[in-house]
Subunit: 387 residues, 5 copies
């Protein structure tokens, strides 16, 4: 018990607000540990595309207004001024900007007059089920995205923009936003798959015997799946809101694509739900196995104890030191001719009697029970047992 | 434990997307293992019917537009070009075609302007609870169906079309789609029935004793029922949507039939739900039986140990070697005339006393308890016990 | 274990469709085992009443159109032609007639233009929780009812029709249908009551000791209650639909009565729900009792084993045969004057010490614990314990 | 087990209908055990009040129409004629009157043209969680209330009417009805409180040790809370209906008061829900305690058995009677000089070794574990442990 | 068991109404223990601010009407007259004032013509999960707040009012109310965080071994989380009501801020829900650990008992005193040359045989099983085990 860590510690994600209760709303207070922002602008129209790494936020305004769609991506939320500057450029609401740096928002869609504020969570690392917040602003001719750190799942999208693949260059910023959300959603599929593999491995372990750590692993996966579910369920609602609610910024054509994306969110939630139920089932298996084992151990103990206690008692009786000389009544058996063989025979008889009793109870191993089982089973049983 | 496989491995269906996150939507990427498509056209009107096996998709256009209703059935999704060609022929949306080859869609109805896209899942093989996706396009004068592989549950429908049975030949493509969905739904009844038989067999096994494999079987059936439920629940919603939502393509008369089909989906869900609860009940039975068995084993052990330990102790006392010669105080019993019989009587008295105690506790088998039970039971009890 | 059938087999009702998947809808295919139909016509107006046993369906048309309300009751669904003939007489939809013979419909109300099709389930035999389907057609001046077999709960209704009791003769067919449904609903009250009695009997059993069969009985009652609930819950919905939805066939006055009937369905569901929770509570009791018993058995075993093992050890030590002659060091106690009494005293001291330990642990029966309990309890405790 | 009643019998309330299924609706059939009715009339206006005990129902009409509001209260439902007479006086619907005497109605509000029929349930006796039905008819200038027996919670209301306290005399019958319902609702608070006290007492008991009766008490309180909840939940709905639905009889001013009353029903339901969860938690405690106890008992048994079995074995070996004379090989230890001390030392060494093993396993009492615990705990632990 | 308090008593918050059932509504009856009220007025407009401590409520009217917004804060509800006076000043409804002093209201928003009555609950002390009621009246130019006692979470708000930080001075009373609610809501974040830390500490404890008190702590935290949830869930609804419902008093701009506050309530509920599930998981861990421990203890007991019982039996046999002189048949082994070594060898052989059996069963510690495990595990297992 003490040597095997029955339960490994679980790193639970924390929601810590940096602003004190009662502080003014709409103040941008970045996490001190957050990395400095890296700004990248990508402007495109049907026939042209321009990619710029913007070294400083002040130079950003020079590049605006030249393209049909301008996508500004900011990796890293470590500098309040940069975010505030972008907010002023596009006239973004302070509350939305505050949500950008408080990176524990639930996925949501918020309407602010002439732009939409969308929060999405992506999976950073399936090993720990941590999710990263992505904030998206969708305006008439711009898309601004904020990520917690460098590195994302959008390189295929950029590639498609560069190579004119898909119809993405012809379409507006709403289609770009759809593409970004869709990529974020689809990135959950391999993660869920990873958990499916882990559950299979645990099932494999359990089917080979009683592994104390399996229980801990199952519980951790359950926790992880909950984290994923908590990121995906509001995302489904947010995508549905984009599909159903009338926003001038989202065209009917894009809505059809978003409906497809909505389908994917449902599929993922379905998958996560299935895996959670698999976890519950495996937990039940675990408990069934432990009680099965306890039962078996008890049976062995009972058989042995019940077998030897009467035998030892007989031996002890004939080990008593009553004085045979003092009285004829004292242990005359000891002087009988076949006293010792008779005692041994008595012991053997007792042992055989008990074994017969145990056999009738079905306590002598499982071979016999299985045989009985096989004959009692209906053809139906045979069928699904041979499956 | 090690010899009996307590838990058999369960093959869980996997949802693996072939498209990378961020890839362009609407691209048809068939599963490399999918079989090549086999196309079959069936055109009919009130007075005529034509059945054609179309060897190549390019020849399909020759057969179109000649019948009141044209049903094109494609078995096998292994060739992207075939599917794309059919999509172009009937002007189908790329997203819908993508869903056709990504065969892990949930049942749904999607409206695309002048046609409906319907996804249904049928049970491929009740032994493994795997479901196959069927995609149906319903247009003004055509029905296009895609199946994962050759072999389906629609031969009776084809037979009815050929022999003018039912009113199917007089009616439009919406009635044909109803017929197809209805056949797919009704095919769940024998599958659910199969699971009912399995559960009965398990109950039979459990009622004969403690079968370790039963637990595993119950859990697998639970999983299977969940798979079926997950295919049927959205199908119910989809059928309900066809019944309620106003689509020009579905006539009021067909809606009455679809309402009947909707009833069937509810009946199946009801059945699956019932069986899931039977699974839970059997699981409870299993646990009750294991704890009942542990209890019984413990009782036997306790009776035996408690009976013989004091007896052995008495025997051990008179087996001590205190020197009776050295002192009168040392074990004078050993020299008594009736010392040995007295010791045996003492042992017998202790044993009888203990047995009385056990009998009062009700630990000596269940015969007595049952008798007491019988007298305590009210007439009501007697009635349902004799049931 | 092997002699007591721990779990009795449960006859689960089966839903078997006789029509193959893909067969034409609206075909009447009666169960081959169904009894032949017995037709009985009952026509009445405010001032007159006529009762006719119709030997053959063909004679039915002669009796129609003569009364304000005509009620045709068919007991037995064994003849397709009879049912089809009645269907043609009143212009009933084939799908509804198909539902009449497929007697596993959920209760429902379906509107078919100028008549309503209502399905109700009544309890056939409370001993087995089997329900029988009753199909009711309500038209402008007729009521047609189909039952699975002869014998029903409507004789009081017929009596009231004959003797002018109630206002039933003055009112239309909708009031008759209300009366029929109300009688069917009220017939559930004694059934639910029967299950309440059974649960009381089981509780009585459990409170007298540990009955292995009780668990099985509880589970069976749970199953039965589920069957009843599954018949009643959709019936509540159906009655509510009759109360709320605007049908020209149901007058406002009748709706007030149906509202009363709706109340009854809720009361029954409430009752069934309560009994299901009682089942769960009894199951918990059962498990608590088993673990309580195991605990008690373990305690006795531990007390006995712990008491006698050290004593036996002491006796065994003084039973060793070290040669006292060979050395002064070898077991000098055996030659002491009071060696034997000293050994006995040592044993007694060990025993007393252990008993004190057990007493402190509270392992020596429950008398002491209860006393402690009594003094620790607040007045509140005393009050509810004396309840 | 047999001496301690592990489970006390629970008197479950029964719903027995006196009318046979199929009987005519609206027939008043009082419970034969119901007490005879006692009628009391209370008429008042802004400036006057009149209280009359009406010995016979026929005299009632003389007192009607003289006051702004007339409140007729009937205690006891034993006489059908009295109830029917009152029904005729105020033109009440037979179905409502039937519900008055069938005293197992769920709380509800029913609209009958120009009056409202309201059913409320009050707690008769918190010791048994039985509820009594109160039926209220609210008309334009009258309030008629029926109670199952004499004695109610409305004396403070009568007092307020007499002494002009509150604005009750200025206001109409709807305000009187609000007052009556509010008094009935508020009477649940002390009852819920009583259950809170009981749960505290049980928790106190459990925290002092393992009381078998606690489990039974918890289950009974759970049942009682369910009874209360089942009376209160529909009452909340009924009050909400009075607040929201437009009835000409309920003025806007009274609605504000009813909204307050609605708040109280929610508070009570909240409380009952909390107590039900406390029950569940206590049940979990109970089970945790039992398994904890079993574990501890097992540990003691294992330590003792494991300690003494090897020692006894050693003693038994040197108690064997091999003939040392016959051969030098036979038990030479018995003749060694320090044979006996060596054997005792061997035993001591084995015992010490085992105790060390047990100590490492943490099986020797909980002192050591707790110490380890204290040091391992983070400051956070220390904080909440000292709470 | 008796020395370790397995379960600590839990102080459950009580809802005790001071008004008797049937008493007149709208009567202000303060809790006798409530502290006397301390009144503080804070009036401000865009350019000015005035703070006054009002010693007596009668002087309050002098300060009204001079500012754009007047905020009157009352700490302490011990004086009925003060509250009634304020009620008369602002024309507040008696029912609302009654709710102010009955400090067990659920959070709610009530509309009273030209003002809103809002109830919020804040956490008083995270150590005990007690919540305090705050009542807020929002009028056209005033805000009146009542708190149970001195000391609140609004000092940062007052500071912002004084220093012109934020836009709070320019905006109306609705923005002030938003600020107050937002501060109250945000104060839940550190409390939830505190519970997260406690759960981590418990998990740490559990992972080091079996701590009986952990179970009690988990249950208490569960209870506390429930208390918090019950305060927060209706608050979410109340805030949502302020966001959605059309009140003239709440401007569109403030609604955007309230929407942000609504987001925070959802985040907190999400957090509380997560922690409740962590509690459930830890409880499962606890039970898994206890059954795991019982299993291990049983295994040790079984191994020892099974090992030594046959050995002791053999020794006991050769300790029997059959008279070898009386007959050649009596225990000739005792006289054999190598009798003693042979007996010892027999014992050793039995012991080795048993140990082999145990090893095959996997009962000799967990080392071997783990090794087997390592090899059986798939690469996937290895990955998540090394996590």
């Amino acid at each position: 018990m003490t040597t095997i860590p029955f339960m490994r510690r679980f790193r639970r994600p924390r929601v810590r607000r940096r602003t004190a209760p009662g502080a003014a709303p709409g103040v941008i207070r970045p996490d001190p540990q957050a990395p400095p922002p890296v700004i990248r602008l990508l402007g495109y129209g049907a026939g042209e595309i321009e990619e710029v790494d913007v070294p400083h936020v002040a130079e950003l305004s020079r590049h605006l207004g030249k393209h049909a769609v301008t996508w500004i991506n900011v990796d890293g939320l470590g500098d309040a001024e940069t975010i505030a500057h972008i907010g002023r450029l596009f006239d973004l609401h302070p509350l939305a900007l505050e949500d950008v740096v408080n990176v524990h928002q639930r996925p949501k869609v918020e309407e602010y007059g002439d732009y939409l504020f969308i929060v999405v969570r992506i999976v950073e690392d399936p090993q720990y089920a941590r999710t990263e917040q992505i904030s998206i602003f969708l305006g008439k001719d711009f898309v601004v995205t904020f990520q917690e750190r460098v590195g994302d799942c959008w390189n295929p999208v950029r590639e498609r923009l560069r190579t004119r693949r898909g119809r993405i260059r012809q379409l507006g910023p709403d289609y770009l936003v759809y593409t970004l959300i869709d990529a974020a959603v689809d990135a959950y599929f391999p993660v869920a798959e990873e958990y499916g593999d882990r559950l299979d491995a645990i099932e494999e372990d359990l089917s080979h015997g009683h592994a104390p750590q399996s229980f801990s692993s199952i519980q951790h996966i359950r926790s992880d799946l909950l984290v994923l579910r908590r990121a995906m369920a509001p995302l489904r609602e947010a995508v549905n809101q984009l599909v159903r609610d009338p926003h001038a910024l989202v065209t009917g054509d894009t809505r059809i694509y978003l409906r497809d994306c909505y389908d994917h969110t449902i599929q993922i939630l379905d998958l996560l739900q299935t895996y959670r139920e698999v976890c519950s089932d495996l937990r039940e298996f675990y408990f069934a196995m432990v009680s099965q084992r306890t039962n078996e151990i008890m049976r062995v103990l009972t058989v042995i104890a019940t077998l030897f206690m009467p035998l030892s008692f007989i031996a002890a009786v004939y080990g008593m030191n009553f004085d045979r000389v003092a009285s004829w009544w004292n242990m005359p058996e000891l002087g009988w001719r076949f006293g010792y063989p008779a005692a041994l025979c008595l012991m053997a008889a007792v042992a055989v009697g008990q074994l017969t009793f145990f056999r009738r109870k079905g306590w002598l191993g499982s071979r016999k029970r299985r045989r009985r089982h096989g004959t009692a089973g209906s053809p139906g049983t045979a069928r699904y047992d041979s499956r």
